[in-house]
Structure formats: structure tokens, C-alpha cells
């Protein structure tokens, strides 16, 4: 099996779906925990240079979640429901509170690759091509440059 060391992305031409695949050095159980433990989740989910604060979190089927990211005093809220939470698959809804009518259906699959490695596949289904394109375009400038800077720092420290 090929390893996917860098995230691969696919924008489906027929349905408004974005798919991303990435392999991790971590067991499926650890990857699951990083997605369901709010303290761990807040450490990686938010864009760079943003402080992420989890305000609601009930990571089980039928539960809900909400987090707020802050940058330069501006707050960006996100919320949704956990439709189904199980160790190999998480299904949840996702709404950016700046566009409260928009909702995406996200499915995550966690696959055991053996030797302490796992594959994460995510699929985001949005309600229109307009929304998807807006998503793809969103944060085009946000986070890209600082992302590179951070990555360079990590490479320099030997953390990558």
C-alpha cells in the first residue's frame, strides 16, 4: 500500500464534495482520541495564529460540539452535531457561524495501516458548488504564509 505522507485532496466534479487523505504516525486509537478529546482537538484544528477554545463538546452519537477561534480579538465560531461516533468512523455536521445557513456533512474514516500507523480519510459534502468553491477559496491568503513560516520552523527544529 502506498503511504500518503502529504495530504492529498480531491474536489469531486459531479457532487460538491472535498475529499482529503493523509497517513499518520499514530495508532487508530490515538487518531480517534485526537478527534474526540477536546483538549487534544483544540491543539491542532484551528488555523495558524489562532487561539482555539472548545466551548461545547459531547463526542458521542447524537452529541454536539462548538469551538471558537480567535485572531486579533476577532472571534470565529463553528458548531455542529456528532451524528455518529465510533472508533473507525465519525460523522458530524459543520457550520461556520459567520454563514449560519451553511452546513457541511463531514465523514471521517480511520484505517489501521499496522506498525502504529493509520490513514485518515475525510469527506466534506456541502450544500452547493457555490459553497464548496467558497470553501476552497476561503482563507486563500489566511494561514498560507504563516503556515510556511511555521513549517520552516518545524523543519529547522527537526520536528518534521
Amino acid at each position: 500500500m502506498n503511504t500518503v505522507t502529504e495530504a492529498t485532496i480531491e474536489a469531486d466534479p459531479k457532487v460538491p464534495i472535498i475529499r482529503i487523505t493523509r497517513d499518520f504516525n499514530g495508532t487508530p486509537e490515538q487518531l480517534f482520541r485526537a478527534h474526540t478529546d477536546p483538549a487534544l482537538y483544540a491543539q491542532w484544528v484551528g488555523p495558524n495564529a489562532m487561539e482555539t477554545r472548545v466551548t461545547d463538546w459531547d463526542a458521542r452519537s447524537g452529541g454536539s460540539w462548538r469551538f471558537v477561534s480567535t485572531r486579533n480579538g476577532e472571534e470565529y465560531g463553528f458548531h455542529g452535531c456528532f451524528h455518529e461516533v465510533r472508533p473507525d468512523r465519525i460523522v458530524q455536521t459543520f457550520t461556520y457561524e459567520g454563514q449560519p445557513d451553511g452546513v457541511a456533512l463531514e465523514t471521517l474514516w480511520i484505517e489501521d495501516l499496522g506498525n502504529g500507523r493509520s490513514r485518515l480519510r475525510t469527506q466534506s459534502l456541502v450544500d452547493s458548488f457555490e459553497s464548496r468553491d467558497a470553501w476552497l477559496a476561503s482563507g486563500m491568503e489566511v494561514g498560507v504564509n504563516e503556515g510556511y513560516a511555521r513549517l520552516e520552523g518545524m523543519l529547522a527544529d527537526g520536528n518534521v
Binding site: 485532496i9 499518520f24 485526537a34 478529546d37 477536546p38 491542532w44 457555490e130 486563500m140 494561514g143 498560507v144
Partner: protein, 121 residues
């Protein structure tokens, strides 16, 4: 008004009629009249849409005898590939933070996260 070519392409393709035109042009060049056929709109409205696509560089109408065919500009899609690539890099950046979290989980004693679980339950 933004001059960023990517934003102009995005704005041009944010309209379903224009996206439909682009989809049909991907099968081959067409005249404005041919493009107008399936739509319940005036030819003038179709020209308006074409103007937006033309200004964004999505299509061109090479000079020549009338009726001039409308042609899709392939370079625009290279631009869109870059656009998706930026989004991909954002996801990759997020996942590098997740890498770091997973690495710390390997080192850390489980008590801390167990407490978090307890408080969330």
C-alpha cells in the same frame, strides 16, 4: 474591486449559468447564440455573462469573421489547480499540527487526557 486574477475567476464561476457555460465549452468552442440556446434569457443577458467570463480570463473570443466562437482558456484551470493546492496545503498544515499532537500522546502519561474525558462526559 479586487485585481487578484484568482478572485476574478472565482467570482466569475460563482454563478451557476456561467459555470454551465464553462462546462459546455469544455466540450468544444461555441458561438454566443449556441451558448444561449438552452437558457431562458435574452441574448443580451448571455453576452453579459460572457463578458464576465472574458474579463476574468476564463474564456476568449479570438478575432475573426462573425459569429466569433467562444473558447475556453485552459490556463485558467491551472490557476484553479493552484487554488485547490493552497487549500490542500492548509489541510496539510493542520495535519502537521495533528502529527505533533500524536507525537506528544506517545510521550505523555494518560492521566491528563483521562481527566479531560471525565470533565467532558
Amino acid at each position: 474591486m479586487t485585481a487578484d486574477p484568482l478572485s476574478r475567476v472565482f467570482a466569475a464561476l460563482s454563478d451557476p449559468t456561467r459555470r454551465d457555460m464553462v462546462a459546455r465549452l469544455s466540450a468544444g468552442d461555441a458561438t454566443a447564440n449556441q451558448l444561449a440556446e438552452p437558457y431562458q434569457m435574452t441574448l443580451q443577458a448571455v453576452y453579459k455573462h460572457l463578458k464576465v467570463l472574458e474579463d476574468a480570463g476564463v474564456v476568449s473570443r479570438p478575432p475573426g469573421p462573425q459569429p466569433r466562437p467562444v473558447r475556453l482558456e485552459a490556463e485558467v484551470f491551472d490557476l484553479m489547480d493552484k487554488w485547490i493546492e493552497r487549500y490542500r496545503r492548509q489541510a496539510e498544515e493542520r495535519y502537521r499540527r495533528l502529527d505533533a499532537v500524536l507525537a506528544r500522546m506517545n510521550d505523555e502519561t494518560p492521566t491528563e487526557t483521562e481527566e479531560q474525558k471525565g470533565s467532558a462526559a
